[in-house]
């Protein structure tokens, strides 16, 4: 009866992660315009209704209430895990499919919610890849630094457990306060612990500063970052000198995706907005959009139960922007997603074999 199909986007348009949310919106606007140019789905145009979660759970709960009253079939988002968590119940009770794009906390999919999916991987997988990488590079004494956010703490705990179980020594485990400028006190303390490597599980602004100040202190220990450090701004903040040699884990960057979908998407994005997307999470939001519209096409329906069933069981190796996408019964994305990157002297992110 409605002449458009409405898909919600819940992202941090304001607040500390505003840049993430704004890019998510750019990606979805682009994809929706594309899709509509090709005739939309089920003969109808797709309309993206964006709302701001402010990167904060309570604002998010309100945003969810608001979106839930606007006749959306599904919602894409959001970025932070605790923010997502505050909205899960609301969408579930309103029978709306939620496809999170950046919320990697393990427990989100451990609750048995039928309509919850995510295109990003989980922290436990990332932890596993991180530990493998550290083992491969031969590090014996590891320092772990997080920032006490849900995500970073979760990843740090995961890595710590795995490392300890395989007998690697953890010489440092603590949290910094995000949003500060000076981390020399922590770096000095870290240096005193004499690690072979520092695994920082927080976000890129702090990672950039850590690298920069580490360099200023004349300390040459390798740093590994989690996927929240994957952002070109990292190099801008740290400077090429200081960023060189930094390893981080991430879903493959768009540029490293050979798939034609990714290529053409990137080209169009650049054409429309002037640069390629900074954040992989924005691209993962795009995958959420593509997956749900594909499901509608395939089931010829907007019935959430049918759509959820399709996504859980039928969708296999869908050609996403970030690689092949399938979901398991919990709503988690299956398959190895994480890659290891290293920053080269030019500040480029180089995929490690």
């Amino acid at each position: 009866q409605a002449d458009t199909i409405k898909i919600g986007l819940m992202g941090p348009m304001t607040g500390p992660w505003a840049s993430e949310g704004q890019e998510m919106k750019q990606v979805l606007d682009l994809l929706a315009a594309d899709l509509n140019a090709k005739g939309g789905v089920l003969g109808k145009k797709v309309e993206v209704i964006a709302d701001d979660d402010g990167g904060d759970p309570r604002t998010a709960a309100l945003a969810a209430q608001r979106l839930a009253t606007q006749g959306i079939v599904a919602v894409i988002g959001t970025y932070g895990s605790s923010v997502t968590e505050a909205t899960q119940n609301i969408y579930d009770e309103s029978k709306i499919i939620q496809i999170a794009n950046g919320s990697t906390a393990i427990r989100l999919t451990e609750k048995g919610l039928k309509y919850f999916f995510r295109t990003c991987p989980r922290d436990d997988e990332q932890g596993r890849v991180a530990v493998q990488t550290m083992a491969k590079l031969g590090f014996k004494n590891v320092a772990i630094l997080h920032d006490n956010t849900t995500y970073a703490k979760g990843l740090a705990d995961e890595a710590k457990g795995l490392l300890e179980s395989q007998g690697t020594k953890i010489v440092f485990f603590d949290a910094l306060t995000p949003g500060e400028r000076d981390y020399t006190a922590i770096l000095t303390k870290l240096k005193g612990a004499n690690p072979d490597v520092v695994f920082f599980t927080g976000y890129y602004p702090e990672a950039g500063l850590l690298l920069r100040q580490k360099k200023e202190m004349n300390w040459n220990v390798p740093f590994i970052g989690g996927d929240a450090t994957n952002n070109p701004d990292l190099v801008k903040i740290a400077g090429k000198d200081a960023a060189q040699g930094f390893y981080f884990l991430s879903a493959p960057l768009p540029k490293d995706l050979p798939s034609p979908e990714a290529k053409s998407f990137l080209d169009e994005f650049k054409k429309k907005y002037g640069s390629t997307p900074n954040s992989i999470y924005a691209v993962l939001a795009g995958d959420g959009f593509r997956v749900i519209t594909a499901a509608m096409q395939a089931t010829q329906s907007t019935d959430v139960d049918k759509l959820a069933a399709y996504l859980h069981t039928k969708l296999k190796d869908f050609a996403g922007l970030t690689g092949k996408i399938s979901f398991d019964e919990k709503g988690d994305r299956v398959g190895e997603v994480y890659r290891v990157y290293k920053v080269d002297a030019e500040g480029n992110f180089i995929l490690q074999p």
């Binding site: 348009m13 304001t14 701001d52 904060d56 759970p57 309570r58 709960a61 309100l62 209430q65 608001r66 839930a68 009253t69 895990s81 605790s82 968590e85 505050a86 119940n89 009770e93 906390a105 427990r107 006490n148 956010t149 849900t150 703490k153 979760g154 949290a175």
Partner: protein
């Protein structure tokens, strides 16, 4: 009086006309109104510059969440206990600092608020769940009525606000309420009139905190997940702002303040990016427009014995 009645009736029937979203906005306003009323005792009446009220709110919310998730005690049953723990906590922290003046007290309350938040993030005693907070809190159950939807919460929350306003109105017009005003106006004179100023300052803190603790209980019940970021410094700032904006020491003022401070940003939502900028400017403008708050406290009413009034007319 008539106006207040009309507003109350309009509010009471409003969920029938509003969708879930706007009802939920009203719920948030209600929560802040109750918090504002509790802080009003401390800031508005006793004149103590408290910018750390979120700490007491947090203690109440976490008490509810921990006991509910661990021992499955129905959440609303825990409400008195939440008030008690928050009040006790206030008693312990406020006692050594209560003699500090104005802005020194302000920074200490900010400090207490931050210490509590940091303790919660760092999973103090291993029971707060760290940055994740606590999830899986059961919905409230009132004699078999499970409160779940926004308009169900509406009556729970605004019912609590109404009870709060009723009690606090009586409190204001009593020996206790006056004592708080005396010490706000002039501490030395209050002490010199035989008022135990230290005691009343402490009591204002404890009672305000206990009430905030009870609101914390409702908040935990409503969200079913609580996390430290909901109890940040910014929350305290909002509670403080709504009091001053609405009218410090005035119950209708505080209620109106909650509507403005929590509601206006929702109304400005159309401006997406410029929303908070406009809100900031609006805060300044409102303060300049009514420097004493929009509905400032009115003098108390007394029925003076006739004997004296007769003389006046004579």
């Amino acid at each position: 009086m008539l106006i207040y009645g009309a507003v109350a009736v309009a509010l009471a029937v409003s969920p029938l006309f509003l969708n879930a979203y706007w009802t939920d906005v009203l719920n948030n306003i209600g929560l802040y109104a109750a918090l504002g009323l509790s802080l009003n005792l401390i800031v508005g009446h006793a004149g103590l510059f408290n910018l750390g009220h979120a700490a007491f709110y947090a203690v109440g919310a976490y008490t509810a969440a921990i006991l509910n998730t661990h021992f499955h005690i129905p959440i609303l049953v825990l409400m008195p206990l939440c008030g008690l723990t928050a009040g006790l906590f206030a008693l312990i922290v406020a006692r050594p600092i209560i003699h500090l003046r104005g802005d020194y007290l302000c920074i200490v309350t900010i400090g207490v608020g931050e210490i509590v938040r940091i303790a919660l993030i760092n999973n103090v005693f291993g029971i707060t769940g760290g940055a994740n907070g606590i999830f899986g809190i059961a919905r409230p159950n009132l004699f078999g009525w499970v409160v779940r939807k926004p308009h169900e919460f509406f009556y729970l929350i605004w019912g609590f606000v109404a009870v709060t306003a009723f009690f606090f109105h009586r409190l204001e017009n009593s020996r206790f309420g006056r004592a708080l005003n005396y010490l706000r106006e002039d501490e030395t004179a209050a002490e010199g009139s035989g008022i135990d100023t230290a005691h009343y300052k402490l009591m204002a803190f404890v009672l305000g905190a206990a009430w905030a603790g009870m609101v914390g209980n409702i908040y935990a019940a409503k969200m079913t997940i609580i996390a430290p970021e909901s109890f940040s410094f910014w929350e305290s700032v909002i509670m403080f702002t709504l009091i001053i904006l609405g009218g410090s020491g005035s119950i209708p003022g505080v209620l109106l303040g909650a509507f403005l401070v929590v509601g206006l940003p929702e109304v400005f939502r159309g401006f997406t990016n410029a929303r908070m900028m406009i809100f900031g400017a609006a805060m300044i403008a409102m303060m300049i427009f009514r420097t004493g708050g929009i509905l400032p406290a009115r003098p108390r009413r007394y029925t003076v014995p006739d004997r004296h009034l007769a003389e006046e007319s004579a």
